[in-house]
């Protein structure tokens, strides 16, 4: 497990990362900023990394990453061929083997009003993928009504485990469970967060009957999946526009069941935030699951049935 994370670093820097990578199981983020202290997020708490590779809470003892190190790590991650990751650089993040994601910032190069690439990369945010199998165990029984999957929307503020829950729901719906046989699931993973595809192959276990369309805008992807893979269930992460909701309606009319997530505190907040008219969510979703954080843990706050 630790060596998988170690593969992100070129040989000359590996000595500094042995201890940190050894704690991969509890590691959430590594932040490398040029000329700034190296920081890691471990079990929800920020730590700094010393020159000996130990972590410390004292920023004075932290090692600063050089610009050269940041660029060397990016070059290594890109297989010494950043040109092959042009699209990823343009959108500011890339998914790696194992489903880990690297966020990239620096100086953007614009062309014709669009971002062409990012040069002089100054910081990397390595987010370590953790799939929690069984995260949806308590929710899955509620998803079915007389053996039929209900259209479900998971609503929560950021950092409450929406994506983790959705990922496990997809896996269990796809593989089959005690309440229903396995169903064909089509996933549109616009930001490669759900399946963590690397070279088109999901790095997370998404279930045996799941087809993932990676890196595709959600509203286009849903229609593409409907035409090409005839899924029984369509799943998307972070529903965020009226167009996407329309595409979900189309999918629903075509007989697909929907599982989705949205940022927000409650239904009204979601409707206001994304410009949905009142009651529009109810037309598509039968079940609304609200998540929140209590005592540092992600918990289900409320489950609401519509209609």
């Amino acid at each position: 497990m630790g060596s998988e994370l170690m593969e992100l670093f070129p040989r000359e820097y590996r000595g500094l990362w042995g201890r940190v990578c050894g704690a991969q199981e509890h590691l959430q983020e590594i932040r490398l900023r040029a000329e700034k202290p190296v920081a890691v997020l471990l079990r929800g708490k920020e730590w700094f990394v010393t020159g000996q590779g130990e972590w410390t809470g004292d920023i004075q003892k932290a090692r600063c990453a050089s610009s050269k190190e940041v660029r060397a790590v990016l070059k290594h991650i890109c297989d010494y061929s950043p040109y092959a990751y042009e699209d990823e650089l343009r959108r500011g993040y890339m998914t790696l083997a194992g489903g880990h994601r690297v966020g990239i910032v620096g100086e953007t190069v614009m062309s014709g009003g669009e971002i062409r690439t990012v040069k002089n990369v100054s910081a990397l945010n390595i987010r370590i993928a953790h799939q929690i199998k069984g995260a949806a165990d308590d929710i899955v029984p509620l998803l079915y009504e007389r053996g039929v999957l209900q259209n479900t929307l998971i609503i929560s503020p950021p950092g409450c485990g929406k994506t983790t829950l959705l990922r496990d729901m997809i896996r269990q719906v796809s593989d089959g469970n005690g309440y229903s046989e396995g169903l064909t699931v089509g996933v549109v993973d616009e930001r490669s967060e759900l399946a963590g595809c690397y070279m088109g192959i999901p790095q997370n276990d998404m279930g045996v009957r799941t087809d993932v369309l990676d890196g595709c805008p959600k509203q286009l992807g849903m229609l593409m999946l409907l035409r090409s893979m005839s899924p029984r269930v369509i799943a998307i992460d972070e529903l965020g526009s009226a167009e996407e909701l329309q595409a979900l309606q189309v999918a629903s009319v075509c007989g697909c069941n929907i599982i989705a997530t949205a940022h927000g505190v409650d239904r009204k907040d979601v409707e206001r935030r994304f410009g949905f008219s009142a009651g529009e969510l109810e037309k598509v979703f039968r079940l609304l699951i609200y998540l929140c954080r209590k005592n540092g843990n992600c918990v289900v706050e409320k489950i609401e049935k519509t209609g």
């Binding site: 170690m6 593969e7 670093f9 070129p10 040989r11 000359e12 590996r14 660029r71 070059k75 290594h76 890109c78 297989d79 010494y80 061929s81 950043p82 040109y83 092959a84 990751y85 042009e86 650089l89 690439t117 040069k119």
Partner: protein, 172 residues
Amino acid sequence: MLKFAGAGLIVYGCVGIGKRFLDVFRGRMHALQDLSEILELLMGVIAYEKSSLPQCCERVAEHIRPPFSEKLKNVAKRMKNNEGENFGEVFRQETIETLTAYPLKTEDIEDFYAFSQKTGFADSEAQVRTIKRSIEKLQQERQRLYEEERDKSRVVTGLSLMSGLLLVLILW
């Protein structure tokens, strides 16, 4: 009779040495051509597929003969194993043995490796240009050898024959 046979063998031996010299010379020309072809294939894959350098090595290996096909496959494999080495290092380590077995000069080998030391471009065109420069250098050298070949061949054949005859005269 024995004397004539000995003289014939001496002349034959000298001409053989000259031919061996010419074979090395022509071998270098062919090797330069082979190296240019490998680089052209790499360049084509980058330009068309925008694949990473290790992936390009894997693709090109499918289109060339051993021993280079094996060596390029090894490059891709080692990069996949990801021991933290950089591409230039791995590429050199995997191919140097094969290259030194060819009748190539050190500068030919360095021209071939030049592109592998210049990586990390965000633009595939820039990476393609580094390979193009390596190809140009190899082709220029090959062209120079090609132009010299006819004269060199005449001189070497003539000299080897003459030296054989001279040796026969001295030993007669």
